[in-house]
């Protein structure tokens, strides 16, 4: 019996493929695309101001609300933060990824890899709150700055318009630090993978042909690591774009996209506006991915 079944599947390989894929396919179509579609539909409804009920009629007025200066400010602020976090993470991740990929012994490489990904095993909310404590007025950073008699520098940074605040934990700078920390592993791993694919002989060849290490970095290593940087930036950029925990715990009262979505769908009950807000990051990410594809970020995947 078992043999006949095996033989039947052997003769019908397409059926095997279908069976293998049916479950993930059903999940993708129903749950994943379905929820996205529901989101899209909802974003074309609107909230009746007097009754506070969602009116299920097609309208573009909800999207019109997004164009209010306050809401455009939310988009600008969030995208700016995502961009800054991405750039900073790339700058921090590159040397570390380079060290892991090219210099560390195989043993050390394993340890470093675990060290880089270890934070991902713990709850991310706990880590965000840890940063809140670290960065608060009574926290370890302030204490350390005080120890070094650098209070004037910290005060100067916190007095900067737009990114300053009453303390690090209550300023956009604090958010920026926490974001950079939280998404860093997602930047290190793709860059490391890209660099590991660069054979050592390419670096030797460059040096052999007269290039100093700085020239080799610019003309060989960076161009070859670039797809990894783009891949990592997709994570850091999109994760920052949609996050609401960090802006809620740290920073000032000015909204980010994630917070806006969270509050509109929650107490305000304005699902259409929340849905419209969500379409923002989706559109931004689609544009970002198209540019990334143009830059060759997916060639190596």
């Amino acid at each position: 019996m078992a043999n006949r079944l095996s033989a039947f599947f052997f003769r019908n390989p397409k059926l095997v493929t279908l069976l293998l894929l049916s479950l993930p396919l059903a999940y993708m179509v129903v749950v994943y695309l379905g929820s996205l579609f529901a989101l899209l539909i909802n974003s074309f409804y609107y909230l009746e101001e007097f009754t506070g009920l969602v009116v299920k009629e097609f309208t573009l007025s909800t999207y019109g609300q997004l164009l209010k200066p306050a809401n455009l400010g939310i988009f600008g602020r969030t995208a700016g933060m995502a961009l800054a976090v991405t750039i900073m993470d790339a700058i921090i991740a590159f040397p570390l990824a380079y060290y892991i990929a090219k210099f560390a012994s195989p043993r050390l490489r394993t340890y470093l890899y675990i060290a880089v990904t270890l934070p991902l095993w713990s709850s991310y909310i706990v880590r965000v709150y840890a940063w809140k404590l670290i960065l608060s007025k009574e926290g370890i950073v302030s204490w350390f700055v005080d120890l070094l008699h650098l209070n004037f520098a910290l005060d100067w940074v916190l007095s900067l318009p737009g990114i300053g605040g009453s303390s690090l934990s209550l300023s956009p700078i604090g958010m920026f630090i926490a974001f950079c920390y939280i998404w860093l592993p997602y930047m290190i791993v793709p860059i490391q993978t890209a660099l590991e694919r660069v054979p050592k002989s390419l670096l030797e060849a460059s040096s052999d042909l007269g290039a100093t290490p700085a020239q080799t970095l610019r003309t060989v290593i960076l161009p070859l690591a670039f797809p990894g940087v783009v891949a990592g930036s997709i994570f850091t950029f999109s994760l920052t774009l949609g996050d609401f925990i960090v802006p809620q715990s740290l920073g000032n009262s000015r909204f980010f996209i994630g917070q806006a979505v969270y509050s509109y769908q929650g107490t305000a009950g304005n699902i259409p506006l929340a849905a419209a807000f969500t379409m923002g990051p989706i559109v931004i990410m689609i544009a970002y991915l198209l540019i990334a594809r143009k830059l060759g970020a997916f060639d190596a995947l």
Binding site: P199, S201, A205, D208, L209, G210, A211, T219
Partner: protein, 342 residues
């Protein structure tokens, strides 16, 4: 210029307890096609990497045309390398790859383009400048790597088993081409290989490496016909080593002697005697008919077994196979036998 292109003075490279290169002395002449031949792990590639600057000697000195270079980084040495895996930059097209050295030196664009075209002509890849390395065949990549290394007019060109990845026919073609390019450009070539035929075909001189030391340096005919050690005799070509009781019986002296299989003649009965010849009696243990020639294994008095290769000029498979188990008399010229050390 009276200085040799490369001089090694007691150069060693130890990795912990492993002596990859052990107190090697070596002189490579200007304009020479020099091969470093040896099995893997014999130290030949390490020597090459020390000349290029990728590796530093743990002791001793390396001189490039009289100038000590042992501690100079690769980018300060007038030496270029053709890598075993070609090491072409995958993100640049062929033209940019070949022009890389000139670009680094800051040579103007028009000049760069002119010299790239010259180089691509030299390696017969005219019109390939806009292709990516991934669009080329192995042989073409090999040529690009050669053009990229030669465009800087290095004092010495290093080639690290560059033909290893090519198929036999292409390899033989590239051997001839490499030699002719070397004669045209007049640059000293140092060629690392484990393929003895390759070394014999192309080289002016060969250094045979074994366990971090050089066993013999000489012209291809020196190394083949007069191997200095039993290792050289065994590694370069096939060789018969005669030692112990067999050697004593034949020559009257102790020692180890080498004689090439194709130099030995096979006779079924004692014919003439010549004082220039050496004779040995034996029994045919095996006959392997290979079409063009036949390989015989003959056990001689004293116990050693010799390999003999004879072309099938008049004999057929029927004739040669009948010899199995027969008593035969072997003979070869005294000049064809060398006493080897080690």
């Amino acid at each position: 210029m009276t200085h040799p292109a490369i001089r090694f003075e007691k150069v060693s490279r130890h990795f912990g307890d492993i002596k990859a290169v052990d107190a090697v002395d070596l002189e490579i002449k200007d304009g020479e096609f020099f091969s470093m031949l040896g099995p893997s792990g014999s130290g030949k590639t390490t020597c090459l990497r020390m000349i290029a600057g990728f590796d530093r000697p743990t002791a001793g000195s390396i001189f490039l045309y009289g100038q000590e270079v042992s501690t100079l980084p690769p980018f300060e040495r007038d030496v270029n390398t053709v890598f075993q895996d070609y090491a072409l930059f995958p993100h640049m097209n062929v033209g940019a790859n070949v022009a890389y050295g000139l670009m680094i030196k800051g040579v103007a664009k028009e000049e760069r383009k002119k010299r790239v075209d010259e180089m691509l002509d030299l390696v017969q890849l005219r019109g390939f400048a806009d292709r990516k390395p991934s669009q080329l065949s192995g042989g073409q990549r090999q040529r690009v790597a050669l053009a990229r290394a030669l465009i800087n007019h290095p004092k010495v060109l290093l080639l690290d088993e560059p033909l290893g990845a090519l198929d036999l026919k292409l390899r033989q073609q590239m051997q001839i081409e490499l030699k002719s390019i070397q004669q045209r450009v007049g640059i000293t070539f140092i060629f690392v290989t484990h393929d003895q035929e390759e070394a014999l075909t192309m080289s002016d001189r060969i250094a045979v490496f074994n366990q971090g030391k050089i066993e013999q340096i000489g012209t291809p005919s020196d190394v083949y016909e007069r191997p200095a050690t039993s290792f050289v005799a065994g590694f370069v070509g096939t060789s018969n080593l005669i030692h112990g009781a067999s050697a004593k019986r034949i020559t009257g002296e102790e020692g180890t002697y080498s004689v090439r299989p194709e130099k030995i003649r096979l006779a079924y009965a004692a014919d003439s005697f010549s004082p220039k010849m050496i004779y040995a009696n034996g029994t045919v243990r095996d006959v392997i008919y290979l079409g063009l020639y036949t390989r015989y294994l003959v056990e001689i008095e004293g116990g050693d077994t010799l390999v003999i290769i004879e072309q099938n000029l008049r004999s057929t498979s029927m004739d040669v196979l009948k010899l199995r188990g027969q008593s035969v008399r072997l003979s070869w010229e005294k000049d064809h036998m060398t006493k080897v050390g080690g």
